[in-house]
Amino acid sequence: MGHILRYTGKKLLWTVPILLGITLLAFGLGLAARGDPAVNRASVDPDYVPTREEIQALREALGLTVPAPVQYGRWMAGVLRGDLGRSLMDDKPVLGEMLRLLPNTLILSGMALAVIAAAGIFGGVLLALFHGRFVDAAGRAVLVTVMSVPGFCLAYFLIWLFAQKLRVLPSSGAEGPLHFVLPCLAVSAASACAAARLLRASLLGELGRNYILTARAKGLGRGRLLLRHALRNALPPTVTHIASAFGGLLGGSMITEQIFSVPGIGSYALAAIQNRDYTALRGYVLFTGLVFVLVCLGCDLLCAWLNPQIRLGE
């Protein structure tokens, strides 16, 4: 028990430099990007051409003229107090806006994560169970086909099929649970297929190990062999894959939310990029970075739980 606490503590300590690196990257993004947020903000009204003095005044008001390290220091001081600053465009607090939009994104990525994990594990076990038979060959062909279609193509295909032809699911919005079905399928399909293929391969690899011979000699059938003996040892690569797919989900939500008109933090970040609203963008990058780091931490702990050798520290 003591060991797993030490292990968790060590992993938690490691997240500190990672998070620090993320804040530097998030901040650096705004510095490296071309263009001037003050110009964008001053030109909100297309009929009005701002003077040079007005832009300069705005720049000073937004705090863009102080040296970069000082800007970073001020921003970080805010971050540590839980304040991500105010949007350069409309002065609304970034954290508040993101928290308002967060539920939709969380529901979408959470559902997608569940679908990837469930479908990936179920599919992988099924294919391994029928290894070398028709189900396995056909299943693998389907998986490769789905994996090779880009996510947005799949999204449009799903909209066409379910919303336009069959008219069973809504194509846009975020009013009820049904609205999340299509975007969730669109973002999770490829990762779920990859997870199933990965799990199938590791399960078949495990089946060649010596302990499986012992288990077979006990009189266990193939199903129990896979579920009770091989699965636990075969899972860690798939768990790691699913965790990194979750990172992709967060980034990919930008496109998905756009296609399915779901108001979420992905759409918020996309608007921030278009407006050169670097404070909002920083907030987004920091937030998704934090979530991803936490998911990876969870993944490490899950793998440690699956493998007693890590858990007990051998």
């Binding site: 190990r209 302990y211 011979l213 012992t214 077979r216 000699a217 003996h229 040892n233």
Partner: protein, 309 residues
């Protein structure tokens, strides 16, 4: 009554052609005896053991295997699952990797009791009792351990407990001393001895460890290149080996002068004509190069050599 193999062949397709890992083996084992199957690495003895349990691809195996009057080779996979563990059990080779690394030792033994219909509590209790009989002084603690927390000798005993759990009629121990140091080898010997007292099962010890076979077994089957070349009662076979290969094996024992046999086992894909042992045989004649000898009864056993026929 017993376990008998009738013209058993095991074929494997390899990139360099088909390999006959077990070559027309006809031999029977008696349940009241411990039989040692000895031979060099690659003589087909482990494959022979696995084929009895039906653990090889069905297409690879031809010939017939009988358990008493039942023909195992005619059973389907589902029926073989009923035979495995309950009637014929295996102590797999290599205790280091033959236990599931992520399941507690106790769970892996309990599973056998559960398969025979015992409830969770009963399986637990019987596991602890069995561990105690297998020489573990603190069975609860051992049951909680993962395989990597146990020593090699302990793992071997856990493996033997798994095989003994369902009180099978046969236990096949596959290379129980392979890769173990002298102390652990001695423990394995004691464990197998112990297991003989534990139940009345027939024991089939597949080994290249002649000393283990001599100490433990009543009967010996010698294999060379997938063929059974000599069988006989252990004391007689060790005192007066008849097949030149058996003579060579015994002469290579450390306390008998450690004379190594000349030459190597031929590759399975490139076997000599006639008697498969003739290139290494000190008595080889013209006939041995031309004609393969048959396994013929001789005394209390049988031998596969022209000189003894």
């Amino acid at each position: 009554m017993g376990l008998s193999l009738n013209d058993l062949c095991v074929r494997f397709a390899t990139p360099s052609g088909e390999v006959l890992a077990v070559n027309h083996a006809t031999v029977s084992f008696r349940q009241e005896e411990a039989t040692g199957i000895i031979g060099e690495t690659g003589s087909g003895k482990s494959v022979l053991g696995l084929s009895i349990l039906g653990l090889l691809p069905a297409a690879a195996v031809s010939g017939r295997i009988f358990l008493d009057k039942r023909e195992l080779t005619a059973l389907g996979e589902r029926e073989m699952c009923q035979i495995r563990g309950r009637e014929i059990a295996l102590v797999a080779q290599n205790p280091g990797t033959s236990l599931n690394p992520s399941l507690r030792a106790g769970r892996q033994i309990e599973e056998v009791f559960r398969l025979t219909g015992a409830g969770r509590r009963e399986a637990r209790a019987r596991t602890l009792a069995l561990l105690e009989r297998m020489g573990f002084s603190r069975p609860e603690e051992t049951a909680r351990r993962y395989p990597f927390e146990l020593s090699g000798g302990m793992r071997q005993r856990v493996l033997t407990a798994i095989a003994a759990a369902a009180q099978p009629r046969w236990i096949i121990a596959d290379e129980p001393t392979k890769g173990l140091d002298a102390v652990v080898r001695e423990q394995v010997y004691d464990t197998l001895r112990l297991s003989r007292r534990e139940g009345r099962w027939g024991l089939l010890v597949i080994t290249h460890d002649l000393l283990l076979a001599r100490k433990l077994c009543d009967r010996i089957v010698v294999m060379y290149c997938g063929r059974v070349v000599e069988t006989g009662p252990a004391p007689a076979l060790f005192a007066a080996p008849r097949h030149p290969y058996t003579q060579g094996l015994i002469a290579s024992l450390p306390h008998l002068g450690m004379k190594p046999m000349p030459g190597f086992s031929p590759a399975f894909t490139d076997q000599p004509s006639g008697c498969v042992f003739h290139p290494r045989c000190p008595y080889a004649e013209e006939r041995c190069r031309r004609e393969a000898p048959e396994l013929t009864a001789a005394g209390e056993g049988s031998v596969c050599c022209h000189r003894c026929a």
